[in-house]
Symmetry: C2
Subunit: 394 residues, 2 copies
Amino acid sequence: MSFESLRKKPVRHIVGLMSGTSADGIDAVLCAIEGFGKDCRARILHMSTLDYPESMRGALVGNPWEMNAESVARLSFLLGEMLAEAALKCIREAGFAPVDIDLISSHGQTIAHFPDTNHPLFPVRATLQIGDISVIAKRTGIMTAGDFRPSDMAVGGQGAPLVPYADWILFRDPAKGRIIQNIGGIGNLTYLPPDCDMDSVIAFDTGPGNMMVDMLASIISGGRETMDRDAKMAEAGEVDSKLLDYLLSEPYYSVPPPKSTGRELFGRDYVNRILEFANPANEAQYLSVIRTVSELTVRSMVDSYRAWVFPRGPVHEVIVGGGGALNPYFMRRLREELPGVSVQTHDQAGIPSKAKEALAFAILGNELLGGVPNNIPGATGASRPTIMGKVAFP
Amino acid sequence: MSFESLRKKPVRHIVGLMSGTSADGIDAVLCAIEGFGKDCRARILHMSTLDYPESMRGALVGNPWEMNAESVARLSFLLGEMLAEAALKCIREAGFAPVDIDLISSHGQTIAHFPDTNHPLFPVRATLQIGDISVIAKRTGIMTAGDFRPSDMAVGGQGAPLVPYADWILFRDPAKGRIIQNIGGIGNLTYLPPDCDMDSVIAFDTGPGNMMVDMLASIISGGRETMDRDAKMAEAGEVDSKLLDYLLSEPYYSVPPPKSTGRELFGRDYVNRILEFANPANEAQYLSVIRTVSELTVRSMVDSYRAWVFPRGPVHEVIVGGGGALNPYFMRRLREELPGVSVQTHDQAGIPSKAKEALAFAILGNELLGGVPNNIPGATGASRPTIMGKVAFP
């Protein structure tokens, strides 16, 4: 089947594949997609996940950018096989056959992402996603798109974030202004003014998401918990306003967007510095720290809205996704801080949070097929809209 | 411009890019190509080269498969910029503009090629070419194909050799059987029976090419020479028939094709073992070794023809390419060993030897555009013909 005939189909069936930074497995979503660009409509038909075997997880956690090129090559082929398997599983479970599917669109696994030029020998920006798309295409018999980030970086962007394009497709509204707030390890938002064009979309990282709260919950529970389930710890503590003021003085919050942050800033070292404020023998102090950091997460979001979003246009709704949407403290405090704004979850807005990122890559692949630019310069800092991605044939 | 309209163009202008294992630079060839598959005709309009800066050469020689993933990513982007520059230089020198060019087709630089499964953690075959094609496409504004080898490997092939497909396009003849003998570091051949289909083509490595002779010339000259220029050293020595018999007993020569070899077998260690036969103080003995190894190169080729080619069909011509075509000893001895066969160089046959590999990748890219399988299972060992390569958009 050719590009042109695929473009003319009224409905395309596309499988999106997402293998995230948490390295726990592959999310696959089978979608029915109509149109391109402003006319694109996407509907989820089925979603499934495939867990990584321990060997794959082991290879990807830590500092994968330090593995050698032989391992990069071999792991890329091995992951290609797994991505093919994840796609075929999703297609089978949905009651479809591979011949019914027009395209697979895969994010791949990021093993190196360097939007800086700080390298002694090769002072260029670069990003590397593995999970070879030729392997996926040959194994499934389905045309496969992938490797989106290098294209944006090649036109001056950071190669991230890419999901805001899908936010624009899925959530823009003729009358309402919306913030799509993701709370993953890091918090990030997409702002969609009412009836917006692609070039009025902005997106950036708001600051910490669940990463620091998760680490604190693990420390406080002696390793029994990986997160502050139902915000029970945060609700049991008191905000330490001196600590909160200190944390809010972090310069990242006053940098204007587009901007991004990560584990380098809000990771283990930062948590260790915060814990110097608490006596390990005093549980109340520990609970106070987790409450304060939870509050910091909320405040860094709403302060961002006030500083960078509200001046650009109205916000009628905040739609929260990621693991943080399950944290009742975050949701309650967002509602308190944003009177008159409807704060809801992705699931309440009709897009299952778990399916969102894989769906986003199905949408990016659809645009590639259509020859439509699918990056958002207001999110990545790219010098221009461009068609991201590569294609491999079955 | 879409795939479909490119397919319908009577003549496509395609730039082929080759960056070889010797890591000295990039060969670029601008071609005019008509048709696909059996009807494909390619004509060279211009060729040019771009030397690597010392930093790039330094990164690629040695064992590039040991560099870390950060370097792989950054080097891939940096090389993408250089490949784009090489393509633009060739286009400009030819008097064309980027807008006149339909496709760039790039081999990339191989930094890892493992057609075995000998890895403790990831027991899969894999290959990795760098020089990101998205960077080339964005920088030139021209659709770019590349990354051919993984597709063949994904259908069970060795991912090499790929040039025999181009030999089939360029050199097959309705009445003559031809051997296309390349003498690079390693010797390899493509056999094209008269009026042959793709599936009667075979190709394999015959054994050593220039690699061992070059090393010996460097040792004998105390590093002043990188090759046995005009075969002066070989012509000054005598064949040591005991040593020759010993070298010809190497088991590789009796393995039936498809087969491939490389530096692992016929590299530095092998040369050092041979030199144990010679007294360093005795120049005549050294010249005898280089003569004997030159003779080995010729004998391994003609013995291959007798064992694996002549039984399959007639051979009217041997067309020699690569650096070895400039070695008068090789050419004379081939002619002596093959009475009744016309032995000529690529240049005599109308295809400049220097342009051949870049031209081959232009041809592979043309077939990708046409949706035509472009691997040769009889050369790579793949389970089936398949469309190799990935595409990135401007």
